[in-house]
Subunit: 253 residues, 2 copies
């Protein structure tokens, strides 16, 4: 999608956006997403894949809660991607991903995704640059397949957090009892590779054929405001229709 | 792999090949395949995918029995591909295929495969020519992924039967009690599309990046002779080794 320089993209809301007004609109849109999701399930013509990527503490969990929280659980599935199992490591990196893609009539949210395989593995030098290039090409071919052969709408979000804001978020996990469960010493270790992760993200986003949405997330209310806007717009564009009645029922007494 | 014209490729053994001698060699090679398969399982560095395609009654089942019959069932899996289920139809054509590809240390035999989706669907006009081209590109990208990202050796066989021989084989299914279970009226129906299938096969084989092996199968003993030769050669080339002993065991009393 052309070369992306994340440093040039703000992580915060524009000054003239009113927070209360934005939150009001976000609630409406979340409701609209739930309605469109019902239509998706009923029509069963399209599949929807939402990809959430971002640095640690960039607010992926909160985004799921606030953006999709109004949707029915039927036809909705959240898939959190962790370190591969031994069985998964014995396959190509897209094997476990492909199994979990949405069927027609389904919306699936990937919390992290196949992009981790060109991020964490690259930052730590576990794969060669040649392997990275092959994987980025495979990702494009894979996403293309989902799109043309199963009518899959793919919406990819990079949750764009500043380094300072990440520090604040990680600190809260050490200080607030209802966030202790999210704390992981390893996140502070990964933070030391901030610049390498940023470079890997910029490259992955730049070389991606299906474009990414880069969303400033330093204020969580702004993240939800933008994400709901993008998702409502994209779902509206599908122009989904309630299926026509099919019946042989004749008894009208 | 360059344009293939099946009419120019014989379906029978060369006249100077002695059948008894060929069968003796085939038995030795089938034994060697079993040994190499043990090494594959033990070393767990490579995956092996065998694809069997061919017209109805071209001898796919028999090939499995005679070529892989000496192998241990552990680390070996035969996957017969039938008409997709409703759940499978709600996904892209490679979704169900990807789930079944071999892990490292495993040999998987596809009886029919992802190629059916550019054969039967094309012959019957269920997909457009544009869709066929996209699918052939996706197949190449998919096989490439298996090869580079999971060290998968892919051996694809087109079992090349003559139209006359197919008639004989199908007739046997109507006449011999131990073949009744294979009979299907639909096979005679598909036979009417012989030329269209041949053209679709030639095109799929020609546009495939990983080359196909075209094996004359009018004499089943010749099919086994050639297939075992190709498979032994390919497995030998992997140069697999028994893993070294890894131990902290010190007690030698």
């Amino acid at each position: 999608m052309g070369t992306v320089n994340l440093s040039n993209i703000p992580t915060r809301a524009p000054d003239d956006l009113d927070r209360d007004e934005a939150e009001r609109i976000t609630r409406q849109r979340a409701q609209r997403i739930a309605e469109l999701h019902q239509l998706l399930v009923a029509e069963r013509e399209y599949a929807v894949l939402i990809v959430l990527q971002g640095m640690d503490a960039s607010g992926k969990d909160g985004a799921m809660r606030n953006v999709f929280g109004e949707c029915s659980p039927f036809g909705l599935r959240a898939v959190p991607w962790k370190k591969p199992t031994e069985e998964e490591f014995d396959h190509d990196f897209l094997w476990r991903i492909h199994k979990q893609v949405p069927a027609k009539g389904e919306m699936v949210i990937f919390n992290r995704s196949h992009y981790e395989d060109v991020l964490v593995q690259r930052v730590h030098g576990w794969i060669t640059e040649e392997q990275v290039s092959k994987r980025l090409a495979s990702i494009n071919a894979f996403e293309h397949l989902l799109a043309y052969d199963n009518q899959t709408l793919i919406l990819k979000f990079y949750l764009h957090i500043s380094k300072e804001q990440q520090r604040e978020e990680l600190m809260e996990r050490l200080e607030e009892p209802d966030k202790f469960y999210k704390h992981n010493d390893g996140d502070w270790k990964e933070r030391e590779h901030w610049d390498a992760y940023r470079a890997a993200y910029e490259d992955a986003i730049s070389r991606s054929e299906i474009p990414w949405h880069i969303v400033g997330v330093d204020q969580r209310w702004y993240r939800d405001y933008i994400m709901t806007e993008i998702i409502v717009d994209a779902l509206e564009k599908l122009n989904m229709q309630w299926p026509k009645l099919v019946t042989n029922f004749k008894d009208k007494k």
